[in-house]
């Protein structure tokens, strides 16, 4: 009995802590009518469902660095327009075009990304 109880209790105790935030965003949170450009350096890429996340360090007007989370579409749609999971690496300079969150959070919905070599990729995968 103990054998089952302990893992079960551990699982129950862990549940509130591990409950995921809704990290899957519809585009209604973003100002899709007014897309903007941002230049930055990638710090991390998460090749995850349902959205691919690129974390981008962007210098603001005062010269201080802010981290933005840039969300592309899902891996299945992005691979259809040529993306590869290892296409963007930490340290890569990127130019992104996208829609920022309406509420002012440093989160952007990606429309397109241009790599340092000039190659441009659709960030939605259905244009």
């Amino acid at each position: 009995m103990k054998r089952f109880l302990i893992p079960a209790l551990a699982l129950l105790c862990g549940l509130p802590a591990s409950r995921p935030l809704a990290a899957h965003h519809s585009s209604s949170s973003y100002d899709m009518e007014h897309p903007v450009n941002m230049k930055g350096v990638a710090s991390k890429v998460e090749w995850t469902n349902p959205h691919v996340f690129i974390f981008l360090n962007v210098k603001d007007e005062m010269g201080s660095v802010e981290e933005w989370r840039v969300e592309g579409n899902s891996p299945n749609m992005l691979t259809r327009v040529g993306w590869k999971s290892d296409m963007i690496k930490p340290g890569d300079e990127l130019l992104v075009n996208g829609a920022a969150a309406k509420n002012g959070a440093k989160v952007m919905r990606l429309i397109s990304v241009t790599l340092a070599n000039g190659q441009k990729y659709d960030g939605q995968g259905f244009k």
Partner: protein, 251 residues
Amino acid sequence: MIGTKRKGGSGFALRRRPVSFLFVAALALPLILLAQNPPHPNPVKQRGLVMAPDFSGVWFIDEYRRNLLPKEDPPFQPWALQKFKALQEEKIHQDPDDGPDPTERCIPPGIPREMGQPFPFEIVQARDRVIMIFEYQSLIRQIFTDGRGHPQDLEPTYMGNAIGHYEGDTLVIDTVGFNDKTWLDPMGLPHSDQLHVVERLRRVDHDTLVDEYTIDDPKAYTKPWTAQKVFKLKPDWQIKEYVCAENNNVK
């Protein structure tokens, strides 16, 4: 040693047995299948099947848009209009990590929203049903075309219960049995558990499929209203994996 030899001997026999067994099985298979699936008793239906329009293939929304009705409002019941307006207000201030859209928590989008998501779906036509395999959330929709009606004791579901029949070049799909936990479109048009969706699916040319909807939901709308979605054939695409449950939390 003897035991080893025996094992080896039986191993040899085992290697041969499947070959001969497969040979016999291959000869017998058509007979077995014939016995299990006798010719269709209804020749009219069978003839109808031959004449059924071909919708098979991978299809993708032609122009993704967030409004099911781009130009006007549907005929809301007062509570539905109030709910819809409040939602649009809420969206302006929403935290992108905690929005009101049910699909953000991997809740199925329901019908008709699933059809218009910016992800492909494949149509497979079987003898007694049309199967839609949706990439978005890896959902499957079965539309029974064998003449059955909706079950009497339907429990509410996200995708509803769908039956269909062919009218010439059109597949008419009748879906009921919905819960009220989904939106009709990404903007958040509400509906009730009385939602009844009738679709007329027609292949207007080789590469184009048109789905005309009638939304009939007397609890949420004062009268039935119609909308349309257009899909394009994607001959080089196949349905890929989409794991909503990962929810950007697996590192």
